[in-house]
Symmetry: C2
Subunit: 159 residues, 2 copies
Amino acid sequence: MVDDTAPAPPPVTLRRPVSLRRTERSLPIALLRAREAVMGPVREMLAQSPVNEQKWRVLRVLDEEGPLPLTLVADHACLQAPSLTRIMRAMEDDGLVSRVTGTADRRTFIVCITDRGRQVIADHAAASNALFARLEALYGKDKLETLLDLLEDLQAVKL
Amino acid sequence: MVDDTAPAPPPVTLRRPVSLRRTERSLPIALLRAREAVMGPVREMLAQSPVNEQKWRVLRVLDEEGPLPLTLVADHACLQAPSLTRIMRAMEDDGLVSRVTGTADRRTFIVCITDRGRQVIADHAAASNALFARLEALYGKDKLETLLDLLEDLQAVKL
DNA sequence: CCCTTTTAATTCATTTGTTAAGCAAGTGAT
DNA sequence: ATCACTTGCTTAACAAATGAATTAAAAGGG
């Protein structure tokens, strides 16, 4: 019945957890869980669109800030350079953005949102705002504003 | 951009130019940027360990909550089922966790952290707590507690 | 009991994240 | 000007995320 050659099961002792903060109080984990909690409807919205989460962030950033150097697009959209390279190729193919070579430094590119890219935003702005309104209603307007203030501050912290 | 000079009339939903929130005020984007802002040192810490971000979360969750059904591990560690399948295989091979088939429902698994897995946490608990202390100092203890409170509430919101 | 519908977990295909390496263009010191 | 060095972007290789399809067990209804 019992196989002598089978590896012994790893030792599992019932013990108290080592002294770490509760995961709800770990900032990285809490930020991740909070994001997951609000991303469900956003993903549904984007499923109705020609872009995914990442491309949506690129469009939002460009629509808000205007033409931007590629490195700043990466920073502001929270994308790594290699990912952005791939995404830029796809978005250019789809006519959502365009790029021009920088004049001063010919290594750099300036990225522009196109009318077509802006149209994608316009097509989903109502749904996006509706989601935010629902969140405000469920979570509380004041709490949401306070949370956004605190998050904005946190982004500025230089560890 | 369409002009919107008229004060908001009652039928406010249609034909009104829709503009979006600033990206700093978009909760999904703000949460993502805030997380990126704090993850740098955490990644450095985990680079010194045998686990990555995802496995670290699994260990933290199991250490804190004890043996858990696989689906709850996925929920609490913010991992999708297919990802967790792959990660579980690797972590079992490394002897960090073990699983037993559920007694009532034989489709399910209960996941346990092993002594070895707990040791990984113990080995990095000091560094982890030091990072948190540094964040407290730079960002402000009260602000951090408020932020964590708000994030904890947000996780509970059911959209 | 069968039959249909769920649920848990896995697999598969495709895209994205991550890390390291590479290349071309800019910078600066001697 | 030349050389080493840095910077901006790309490529490549592999791990992880995502979404759809699959298998197995459980649950519910006739």
